[in-house]
């Protein structure tokens, strides 16, 4: 029923404001990080390197999960792809173009503070498409109201699909639970149909059941439209369930203390099973144990080059 509703609201409209949401963006987008390093000035100690020589190429439509211990630079990496921070060395390109400012082709869902508190649920979700399609003066045109009605219908359909009830649509974010807020935040980003979706520990503040249901929904949405996703998490099971590819970041100790390198880059075996069932399979549990062990080693051992090499080797065996 929901998909029928979605189909109906996506039907072509009269001119202007033909499109409900911006479809002009390229649908398949790749991300490439070349020799990306990030250092910052640490006073008397000179500069401190956070990320060192990262080389990652994310193919269009890939679901990449970035895993690593707290403070290893996962979110920094995401912010750099987004264009909020910039590498001190190397380049980041989205769809072949270097990232020079916050990239509106990217949908972004942070862990919290994602929603505008002064707007209702519908207002939050409609903000982006309205902005994209009509600037201030265009809103005075009568066709804007027709456009708005259609957009409202699509926004409602999206929100219902994300598990919100009709009576929640006019609530303000503070009147919703954390899980509901994140559902709205995801809908807010998705209604823009972004070719790249960046999620920064988007589910980490949620209880296990809400988390599981949101994971299912995210996976379903990704399978449907296949945007390129970069999902940052510190939860290994979540990483293996959602992603098609896992990137594990690890931090050096001792002389290169604080410096983060890519420790493991592996494809996650695909499975046709729903997430809840997949988690219970023996293969998944074995893989989980293996990756957990690698993640533990990368975070708890004094990681010199030899150890890093061994972890990568073990990871590839997995």
């Amino acid at each position: 029923m929901v998909s029928a509703a979605l189909r109906s609201v996506r039907a072509p409209l009269e001119e202007p404001f033909e499109a409900i949401a911006p479809h002009s963006v390229p649908q398949r987008t790749e991300i490439e990080l070349r020799d990306v390093s990030l250092s910052y000035s640490a006073g008397k100690d000179g500069s401190k390197t956070v990320l060192s020589k990262l080389n990652v190429k994310v193919a269009p439509g890939e679901f990449v999960v970035v895993l690593g211990e707290t403070g290893c630079g996962k979110s920094t990496l995401l912010r750099m792809i987004l264009g909020q921070d910039f590498p001190t060395e190397g380049t980041i390109e989205v769809d072949g173009k270097p990232v020079t400012s916050i990239d509106a082709r990217c949908g972004y869902v942070p862990q919290k503070y994602s929603l505008f508190p002064d707007r209702t649920v519908l207002g939050n979700v409609m903000y982006g498409p309205e902005n994209a399609e009509c600037r201030f003066l265009a809103r005075l045109r009568p066709s804007f109201f027709a456009y708005r009605r259609k957009l409202r219908a699509e926004a409602r359909a999206y929100l219902v699909r994300m598990g919100l009830r009709p009576q929640d649509m006019d609530k303000y974010p503070h009147q919703l639970s954390g899980g509901m807020q994140q559902r709205v935040a995801i809908a807010q980003a998705l209604l823009m149909h972004p070719p790249v979706l960046l999620l920064d520990e988007a589910f980490s503040a949620l209880d296990p059941s809400t988390r599981a249901s949101l994971q299912e929904q995210l996976r379903e949405i990704w399978l449907e439209s296949k945007p390129t996703v970069v999902f940052v998490t510190h939860n290994t099971a979540e990483a293996l369930l959602l992603g098609t590819r896992l990137i594990l970041l690890g931090r050096h100790r001792e002389e290169r203390a604080g410096e983060t390198n890519l420790v493991l880059d592996m494809q996650i075996p695909a499975s046709p099973l729903p997430l809840s069932l997949r988690m219970k399979t023996r293969e998944f549990q074995e893989l989980l144990e293996r990756v957990k062990e690698l993640a533990y080693k990368s975070s708890s051992l004094c990681m010199d080059e030899a150890v890093a090499d061994r972890i990568v080797e073990e990871g590839n065996l997995a």
């Binding site: 909020q84 916050i102 509106a104 972004y108 505008f116 508190p117 002064d118 707007r119 974010p173």
Partner: protein, 290 residues
Amino acid sequence: MAPPFRVADLTGIQVRPARLWTHSLSWILFVMGIALYVHFSIVRHRENPEDRVIPSATQLVQGLKASVLEPAEEDDPLDPGASLFQQVRHSMIWKDTASSARRFFIALLLLVPAMLIGLHMAVFPYAGAFFLRFVLFFDKIVALSLLPILFIVFGIDEWSKIMLMVIGVAPTLMLDAYNIAGGVPREQVVKAFTLKSTNLDVAYRIVLKQVLPQLINSVRLNLKPLALFLFAGEMIASTDGLAYRIAIMRRHMGMDIIIPYLLWVALLLFSLDALLRFTNRRLHPWYQPR
């Protein structure tokens, strides 16, 4: 069910006073103030029935009547047959309130750009770099010390008093707006840009809309400093206004007029504060004060 009241609760932190307690306690200081006033007034009037330092209730009522129904000394007297409305319209307190209110609201209007500058300082890094150091320095200048300069520049007419209020309060409001707007989570600004907002969208439709209730609260907190500067200006150079009248009455020891004026000023500020608070709540139902 709430546990019964114990004396130890009076000094407790983890207690929830019953409604009756909160209401009763909130009026005690008012009652005590009035009781003390009445006591000292009676004592002084027992020694000197004509005492004007602490006027009796009768003197206060007469003073109030004179303020509300009679024109000021410097104005022409009213016809004896004038209606009550005309009497009030030409009364001393009406004239003074209108003069002070005009200055007060013009100054308040001129403070709006100050808040917008504060907002821009927080949102646009170059604007912040341009203004911040200067505003921080300017904030430390005692506004009253600028009064002679203002009198020279603007004369002793209205504008010197209005500018005193603006210069006295603007830096504080700018810095307040700067701090409040700077407190909007970075995630929201980033999110807004990913939702195709322009710089102006972010400044006005995201940040300003979000901080507006706090800015109104900031104005509420600055009502008293604003009135303080108004009074300073009026007391030094004015021919009308609430503070002018209080200064004139001080010379004649007219406490029967000064006290009603003082209470009237407090009531006006209290009402304006309540009006702003009410408006804030109605306009921003989403606002959750921390």
